[in-house]
Symmetry: C2
DNA sequence: TCTCCGTCAAGAGCACCGCTCTCTAATCGC
DNA sequence: GCGATTAGAGAGCGGTGCTCTTGACGGAGA
């Protein structure tokens, strides 16, 4: 009874996994707009309508891929951070930057799904929120650790943030406990700077202009790290 | 003969303009993937195949919208810069930042078309390159002007860029003449930081997190300006 | 053991899409 | 005015997401 029910559920789970695997492969080669339920069904030897037993709509399949993508990126970032000495805060920051960039270069279409133009008519459901901040959580820990260790020296070039930003800082602080407001705002600046750089590279804004992208990235992330207040 | 030929050409140009106008309206409401030649034709009271007399493919229509978008953004940036005192370099930088953000907020789908995920299978033709750097050209002039005026003081937090980046700096320097390599790389960092911030806001990464977006933007752009070396 | 009910694949079908082709009508250049 | 060019209409092809119905299968309870 239990065994049989789980047998049924198991084949169902297996099929769902197979569908997402094929879909992810299609996503990687054709991009999000080229992802078609019918093509996935065709490759599985199924009729297209059968897919709807497992994913009620194309958007639901896309949601599954988005969650997978956030988790894959988050895991890559976690691994990169874990490989560093805990008190090498600059090294951890740079490792996270490189992990984001390398994952994006290896999975450009998935990166586009996560950080590019949102799919129109598509509203990310609640399930995506937790995986979406997995990478940010790692970053938050680095900032918090560095601050707690007293290794975050505010650069002389930033004015103090306006008082009204304290409200937002309160929310962000859940990812980087005990960090003062000015550090929070600089942390946001560095984080958006990282993704701005990666997006420019992935989305083609550097075409015909920048050729030594790894070196430029490395250098600019170093600058951003110093903007954040990280040591040499 | 001339008058009659231009009469035909004039109605043709008029129709092309009408098509792009309707298409831009559809783009603004439905987004790029929701833009359909058939819907545009329907709204014009045309049969769908007739559109192909004017745009050989959907991608060509999209190209026209992209060029228009770059020009609209470029013009907004030019106007913002022109409204500032020539020697108020920090003011010009912030004006450009605000112009980019406000244009993006007013035209999110067009912004996504320009700076979001590239449309798969779509390669931007040569015609898009010149309009694409219209905003960047304004920025380059600000940096070059500030440097020429001796108002660009390198912040103490950036190491010198590696020598190999000199090659890329040579190309970027066409937009900001006579600017040394380290300023070029910091200029790129500030520019990508601006678009990273705007993209995060437009693409929804600030949802459920940042509410005082204008204030955060203002503050972070100020920081980036100082990273670039702009005065108080 | 038999029956019943839930699950599933399959197929037909709807409305839409980009795009091509042919045919006819209007228009322009000479 | 006549031949050449251009524009629009319509049918049609293969594709899409999605819905609905039908019939087969298999596990659960009488």
């Amino acid at each position: 009874m239990n065994a049989s029910r789980t047998a049924r559920e198991r084949v169902r789970a297996e099929l769902i996994r197979e569908i997402t695997d094929i879909a992810r492969r299609h996503l990687a080669t054709e991009g999000a707009t080229g992802l078609s339920l019918r093509a996935v069904a065709r490759e599985m030897g199924m009729v297209s309508s059968a897919i709807y037993r497992y994913f009620p709509s194309r958007d639901d399949l896309l949601t599954a891929l988005i969650i997978d993508g956030y988790n894959a990126l988050g895991e890559a970032v976690e691994r990169a951070d874990a490989a560093c000495a805990r008190d090498d805060f600059t090294g951890r920051w740079l490792a996270v930057c490189r992990a984001v960039r390398e994952w994006a270069l290896a999975h450009p279409h998935e990166y586009a799904l996560l950080y590019g133009s949102p799919v129109p008519g598509y509203a990310a459901p609640q399930d995506t929120i937790a995986p979406a901040v997995r990478d940010t959580a790692v970053y938050g820990r680095i900032v918090a650790d560095a601050h707690r260790a007293g290794r975050l020296t505010p650069p002389p070039i930033c004015p103090p943030p306006p008082a009204i930003l304290a409200e937002d800082a309160k929310i962000v602080r859940s990812l980087m406990p005990d960090v003062p407001d000015d550090v929070v705002t600089r942390a946001i600046a560095a984080w958006t700077g990282l993704f701005g750089m990666v997006s420019f590279e992935i989305f083609g804004q550097f075409n015909n202009t920048i050729t030594h992208r790894a070196e430029l990235f490395e250098h600019n992330m170093t600058c951003l790290g110093h903007l954040l207040g990280l040591p040499e």
